[in-house]
Symmetry: T
Subunit: 68 residues, 12 copies
Amino acid sequence: MAKVAKVIELVGSSEKGWEDAVNIALKEAAQTLHGISGVEVVKWTAKVKDGKITQYKATVKVAFGVES
Amino acid sequence: MAKVAKVIELVGSSEKGWEDAVNIALKEAAQTLHGISGVEVVKWTAKVKDGKITQYKATVKVAFGVES
Amino acid sequence: MAKVAKVIELVGSSEKGWEDAVNIALKEAAQTLHGISGVEVVKWTAKVKDGKITQYKATVKVAFGVES
Amino acid sequence: MAKVAKVIELVGSSEKGWEDAVNIALKEAAQTLHGISGVEVVKWTAKVKDGKITQYKATVKVAFGVES
Amino acid sequence: MAKVAKVIELVGSSEKGWEDAVNIALKEAAQTLHGISGVEVVKWTAKVKDGKITQYKATVKVAFGVES
Amino acid sequence: MAKVAKVIELVGSSEKGWEDAVNIALKEAAQTLHGISGVEVVKWTAKVKDGKITQYKATVKVAFGVES
Amino acid sequence: MAKVAKVIELVGSSEKGWEDAVNIALKEAAQTLHGISGVEVVKWTAKVKDGKITQYKATVKVAFGVES
Amino acid sequence: MAKVAKVIELVGSSEKGWEDAVNIALKEAAQTLHGISGVEVVKWTAKVKDGKITQYKATVKVAFGVES
Amino acid sequence: MAKVAKVIELVGSSEKGWEDAVNIALKEAAQTLHGISGVEVVKWTAKVKDGKITQYKATVKVAFGVES
Amino acid sequence: MAKVAKVIELVGSSEKGWEDAVNIALKEAAQTLHGISGVEVVKWTAKVKDGKITQYKATVKVAFGVES
Amino acid sequence: MAKVAKVIELVGSSEKGWEDAVNIALKEAAQTLHGISGVEVVKWTAKVKDGKITQYKATVKVAFGVES
Amino acid sequence: MAKVAKVIELVGSSEKGWEDAVNIALKEAAQTLHGISGVEVVKWTAKVKDGKITQYKATVKVAFGVES
């Protein structure tokens, strides 16, 4: 296991729901980062239009190993 | 865009799940408020009976534009 | 109603999603505790492997009545 | 039970003590709001003059059901 | 002095700066509320476009006396 | 003095007031735990009915020595 | 009114109750400080012996004007 | 450099604005304290009268070296 | 709109004031990042010398869209 | 791996240092609990006498698997 | 025991480590204050130069009895 | 001095102790970043196996100057 992990903050958006928003953020992160080991959701928000949620947004902290 | 938004706090309840509880709170708010632009969920709780969740509850902050 | 409630902290895990993780923690708690009245989710995390969530984890506070 | 509750913030003042300050805020709220179900005190302060407390102040969050 | 104060949350926006954003929120509030006694700024954000702030936003808590 | 203390969380309820609610939680705890050395009140809430507090509730952390 | 206030932190103790503990801290502060204008209680704890509270303790922030 | 710094809390007031309120608190502190190295603003409030801010107030933590 | 935003933390410094410090951090960020949509100031500090502020510092969170 | 973990709070004490205080709390916990997987230190305090630390104290959260 | 304790905030620095930084702050405090009963470390920081820690810094709250 | 600093979050791990875990994170960071000026430890955790700490982990915020 890498001895040092880095933690970055992302905000994922989805029209379907919050769990999907987290997965979209994670999928984006996995395209450039290797060794992602975990996520923590620190904020749950949503954009609203005409009284309905149009975009679920999840602010996530993503941890991944740093190769040394 | 309105220059001032107001933020109120609601607690929505649902037997189905937390996402539904947020939507129920939002639906209620939309009946009397115009220009709702976003929500943030600040607390996730639930009532339990006989070892099962009977009511999912989401405390949400709802922002809406104030007409001036 | 019991005049004193006790609050304990559990972490539930599920491969399906966070709501299921909460229910798994609650189901486990209900096997030994009577009079569970409510839960609050205080932390939402997940284990990730190969860019995908393999385990949703929910840290929950569970309140139950203490018989006196 | 109403499916949506609203939460407002009040500051009650009393010359007698903090518990009285909470009750004064609650009494005021009950004149215009129906279905108040609970309060949470989030801040305890006091005004002081000549080394003595002249006004106990309690900041409370009051939850009440919204009729739909 | 009124014995009970109410606290509401507003978000003011300005193209000029944060202090102006607070004053805009306050000016709006003063149109409908009497006896405003104080404000607290709890969040300082801004919208950005092409690398420049286009809208300063201040989230403020406004306290005002409730007539009884 | 015991070298390790354990901390548990309780919620005491009383119709009389918050200080009584803390003492009720403490009295309950003392029936089964030995060596209680201190408490901290972390949350003050109350149930309300017909505009009046019917149940004062205090969430307390109770520390007690663990015999080894 | 003084243009600058100083804020100090004290812990008052009383065998009678928390409100008395706050007043004891305030009385002590008033012996050496002039122009005390307010207090905020930020922590409520107590020492326990034989299952009973022997000392109520209140951590308070005391604000007083600085003469210039 | 002094090996120990002390941190005190002040509240500065100004009719002009928040930045001025911080400087007023700092100016007052500098009259009696040597070696002030930094400040942090932890709270931004204001007194309001007739719908206008009459006094900007900044709560600041001031660090200064302790001569040993 | 990009479906994923990234959030980074910067500390801007200015001899003129805090608002300028935020803009300096933003200007620096805009040199390498595209699609910056917003900032939030989370900490306001300053360096002091001879009783005067020599450097205003603002810790900001900057959000920008990630191209996918 | 167990699907549910429980989290308890302990306070360890040591005359040698904080790291030792954490290990003492952990050693005590390991006598009765199986499957301890991790700890988090949430508070670092110490008792002082005659100007010297006589007891280092670490408040730790200990997570362990619950057998089902 | 004194009925009122005062709490002050200090920042100790050491080239050796954090525990030493706490002790340096405490030693400094003990030169002028009597009856110090406890400390709590609320922040752990360090200055870095050429990739190495050159100064460990611990922000501590120190409680001491006030003679009345 | 650079006018803008960037802050990143790392998690260092060590079998020896927390201070070593911080230094390992710092050493890793120094391999790719220039002008690191300070660190703050925001979380202290550890992995445990068979009742003993096998990996001390420190979550640190690292600040470094951004060349412009």
